[in-house]
Symmetry: C2
Subunit: 382 residues, 2 copies
């Protein structure tokens, strides 16, 4: 055990860092990250690590501290090595002040962060700016990171949610529904789904929403309707001929021209019966873990068009001005955030305690019915 | 049995027609059609009927005699009542000269016909013109019909194949490949597939073709290559990692941007590994009788775009000038017709013999390995 000194002002412990065993310099072991060195079940492979404060950022880079970092379903797939975009391993979280014995990955893809220090040649960002990540898999489950300025996006004060861009762009990049039009979606209670409901409602676009059946279905329906959902049904309703006929007669009539899908599998196939000719089905997720299974006749005789949407690609293809314009538009919409739960990672807890806390929450999320999004909040480690 | 008189000049039998039992007039029982009165297995429900010559066509209509009428897989689905577009029952095949005791459907959707008589107010067609059908399910398995002029399309002399429009339009309506580009397709030995190969080859577009494995696979490969196919593989090859890697390294490289599908199911899914980002998959058939099954990730992360093509819809959406322009373009390409077999329905045979002949060929087609298209040719019935 290395000797440590408690700082009176910050109440943080100053300790010689790992590499300092050789250099004898000392830095603040103020940071913590949730990491893994090999792919596998997140509730088994994740650990927590404490690391020293960051050195000043290099040219065109920023140091940030994370305010909130969500645990998204896709993050678990990344750790299981079952996701399209792969994380890059890092050998250090605090260049020159700490080094992993072997390369590690830092969990997390999304996060709301605050700029704490700007490097040389950075003109677009200043200390105190709030930013989100536009680069894939940059490792947001950490209290502080050094990031390249091209990999972040400044967001207006008041906006702290990173899902609305997906919702907004899906409503504007394919078929652009007008006031009075009907948009259909599944996974309507997801973070994106809730944003879709609200953005559509602001524009007078009606929404036909589908969710999984559950014991408290009425309270979920009420909640989504309070956000502006026009209609809410369950996938089970699609198995009932009378209900489907009723939806066709009173709601969809000639069918809907835009369907947003984050589920795939059977429920999505059932929903396509409610589509209009030449409708567009936009997929942004596959929570059923099933492929998209559609009769070929839908494409041939009903001119169905299937597309996909990935916000990361949108960022890649749009300028910093366009990105900031989108964030401004979303801030002005003042969307209600989805219900979430903050998992506070206490500074007084040990790395093992923190890791255990994260792993057990993830194990519950993996059971599939956690209900609300979990956001990690790192207290300064001691 | 009604008395009949053989005509010396035409060698046809003159018989009082069914309705003539009342009217006592007599007409030529020169025509035959393959019909059914209820949906079901075509090798069971089809029958043949002899009917009188046609009365003069009404305003804006034509009488035609069919030269050749293909038996397409979709025709069998129509008879089974498993197809998107439904036929309309008819109460007579020769208005005023014959009447079915109950409404019947006439088989067949495609056909090459010759105009034999034009009604009042027809200016665009003359006797001797060759026409194909643009209206769905108008019943082409017949020796002669009366058709509205809006439901046919004049085709240039020398063109007698109705599949090339599908091939041509799929190569020109979505991603338009340029010289040197690569187009991938399955069912490459289908009539449309063979037209795709030839049209692409004329423009210097390379084709990557997939077919089912079979004992004489090399002779099929040679045949398709003689049409201009650049590469021919089997669906089995897609199961072999080394072959797939080899195709990627030497043929597709960055992937192909246009894939044409008439198979669906597993082979189609396997082929998508060879697609470029933002590729378009155009479906025009589902010979596997399986749905289109695709990982949702292809849409989200690789921007796959799925569309469908239906030539009948193209006709609906294009003017008579555009339709004829297409036919002219295709005639100029001088495509080699796919191998076919003509099923000659003899005039001397009885209705029951003709029906038996058609049903037994269809039973073989239903076994799925008939190999070549069957075209019906009606001799004048006696």
């Amino acid at each position: 055990m290395l000797p440590s000194i408690r700082c009176r002002r910050t109440n943080l412990i100053r300790r010689p860092c790992l590499s300092a065993r050789l250099s004898t310099s000392s830095v603040l072991l103020a940071n913590r990250a949730i990491v893994y060195s090999s792919f596998g079940n997140p509730s088994e492979v994740l650990s927590a690590i404490t690391y020293p404060d960051l050195p000043p950022p290099p040219s065109k880079s920023l140091n940030v501290k994370y305010i909130l970092s969500p645990i998204n379903p896709a993050d678990l797939n990344v750790i299981e090595n079952k996701y399209h975009s792969k994380p890059s391993p890092v050998s250090s979280l605090s260049e020159g002040r700490h080094k992993f014995p072997e390369p590690h990955y830092v969990g997390g893809n999304e996060g709301l962060a605050e700029v704490t220090e700007v490097g040389p040649d950075v003109t677009h960002y200043k200390v105190g700016d709030r930013v989100v990540l536009t680069k894939q898999q940059s490792g947001t489950w950490a209290s502080a990171r050094t990031l390249h300025e091209d990999d972040v996006l400044k967001i207006p004060v008041g906006l702290s949610e990173v899902n609305p861009p997906t919702a907004y762009n899906m409503l504007h990049s394919f078929v652009e529904p007008k006031e009075g039009d009907l948009v259909m979606q599944n996974g309507a209670n997801s973070a994106v789904g809730q944003a879709v409901i609200q953005i559509a409602a602001r524009k007078g676009i009606r929404t036909l929403n589908f969710v999984r059946n559950r014991p408290d279905i009425d309270s979920l329906k009420n909640y989504l309707q309070s956000l502006g959902a026009t209609h809410v049904f369950t996938y089970d309703d699609l198995k009932d001929k009378e209900t489907v006929q009723n939806i066709k007669t009173t709601i969809t009539k000639k069918g809907t021209s835009l369907m947003l899908n984050c589920v795939s599998g059977e429920p999505t196939k059932d929903m396509t019966r409610l589509l209009a000719d030449s409708a567009t089905l936009v997929s942004y997720g596959a929570m059923s873990k099933q492929p998209l299974i559609l009769p070929t006749s839908l494409f041939i005789f009903r001119d169905l068009r299937c597309r996909g949407f990935w916000q990361s690609k949108w960022y890649e293809e749009h300028s910093i001005q366009q990105r900031e314009e989108l964030m401004k538009t979303l801030a002005e919409l003042k969307l209600r955030e989805p219900e979430y739960e903050i998992l506070n990672l206490k500074g007084t807890a040990s790395d093992e305690e923190v890791a255990q806390q994260v792993r057990s929450v993830i194990a519950k999320i993996q059971e599939g019915r956690y209900g609300r999004k979990v956001l990690l909040r790192f207290e300064p480690a001691q």
